[in-house]
Amino acid sequence: MAKKEVGGTSMLVLALLKEKEMYGYQIIEELDRRSNHVFQMKEGTLYPVLHGLEKDGLVRAREAETVKGRVRRYYAVTEKGLRALEEKKEEWTTFSRAVTAILAGA
């Protein structure tokens, strides 16, 4: 099976989910907070990313009811997702070093 390409946003989502399972609103809040408001997504745009990751087997989802009776869908990273995240992190590290080296000489 062909390896699925993990985009930048997907990599960030997988990195968050590596720590613990989260639901959609929680993921957006964490991205915003940890990036110091650099990564501010439109709330709805996260869901194609999450559903795409689930379809590719990089995350799995479960529904749970909150104490207020709200049904939330929690996402957790899978083993496959962890491997994809590590590969993407290596690529990103290589890329960012190369950019830094070029900018340092500019």
Binding site: G24, Y25, E43, G44, T45, Y47, P48, H51, G52
Partner: protein, 266 residues
């Protein structure tokens, strides 16, 4: 635009209904989080969720309906395969005669047959009518018929005061249906009693095995897709064996005509 309009638009391109409902539920929960946790107004929450049409395009590409329908078809196919596996004559019948094989019957004409509900009887005649009859969703197959003869002794003290000769026509039938739920809990279809025969005799339901002349009784054995019947008709004597019998199925329902002598069932 309110949240419901936004949700309608955002999920409009998800054509597989179960997926559409699940995604809508998830997005609706996100709206609740924006309203209650972030304290946004309805308008602000709709604005924060972004362009519903653009989202609909992306979600529609991800949630292809044919995957969902393929999953549903595979579920239905699996259920059908299990039913067919168990389904006896209607499929590949791994448990062809579920729970009950042919009920007790004589191997052929014989003496000393230990009949159901009786001690040793003689079996002077056996027939094997062929054919099947479809009645609605049910298929009836005559398996065999035979005559039982025996004598009851009435004993007073140590003395046999009299002997009573008995002659009983037994018709063994098999019913098959894939509509197993119609066999439970209603047992209407399991009621068969001999109505009449070619001699013009009408049989009334009696207390099997203690039947009087002109009475009938029925024993059944039932699996999930099959019912076996043995219908007993008490005859005046072995010379009064009819050519055919008409059995009523259910309570005042269809009539099953079993022709014994010419081995054809109509």
């Amino acid at each position: 635009m309110n949240r419901w309009d936004w949700l309608d638009k955002a999920t409009a391109k998800i054509y597989f209904r179960p997926d559409r409902k699940a995604v809508r539920r998830e997005l609706a929960a996100h709206f609740e989080d924006l309203r209650e946790d972030a304290g946004l107004t309805e308008e602000a929450a709709v604005e924060a969720m972004g362009d519903p049409d653009a989202l609909a395009e992306k979600l529609g590409r991800l949630h292809r309906p044919w995957w969902g329908y393929l999953w549903r078809v595979s579920q239905v196919t699996l259920i059908l395969a299990v039913l067919l596996f168990l389904g006896g004559n209607h499929g590949f019948g791994a448990f062809k005669d579920w729970a009950y094989s042919m009920p007790p019957a004589p191997a052929g004409t014989m003496e000393g047959y230990y009949a159901l509900g009786r001690s040793s009887v003689s079996v002077p005649e056996v027939w094997h009518p062929v054919g099947t009859k479809e009645l609605g969703h049910y298929r009836f197959t005559p398996v065999m018929s035979w005559l039982e003869q025996w004598e009851d002794r009435v004993i007073d003290g140590n003395v046999t005061t009299r002997r009573e000769a008995h002659c009983c026509l037994v018709v063994c039938l098999r019913l098959d249906t894939w509509r197993f739920w119609e066999l439970y809990p209603s047992r209407t279809i399991t009621a068969i009693c001999a109505a009449s025969d070619s001699s013009g005799r009408r049989y009334t339901p009696g207390q099997w095995p203690y039947l009087a002349c002109g009475e009938s009784g029925c024993q059944t054995w039932q699996g999930p897709f099959t019912v076996w019947y043995q219908v007993y008709m008490e005859l005046p004597g072995p010379e009064d064996v009819p050519e055919w019998v008409d059995l009523s199925v259910g309570y005042g329902g269809d009539t099953l005509h079993v022709n014994l002598k010419t081995e054809v069932m109509s």
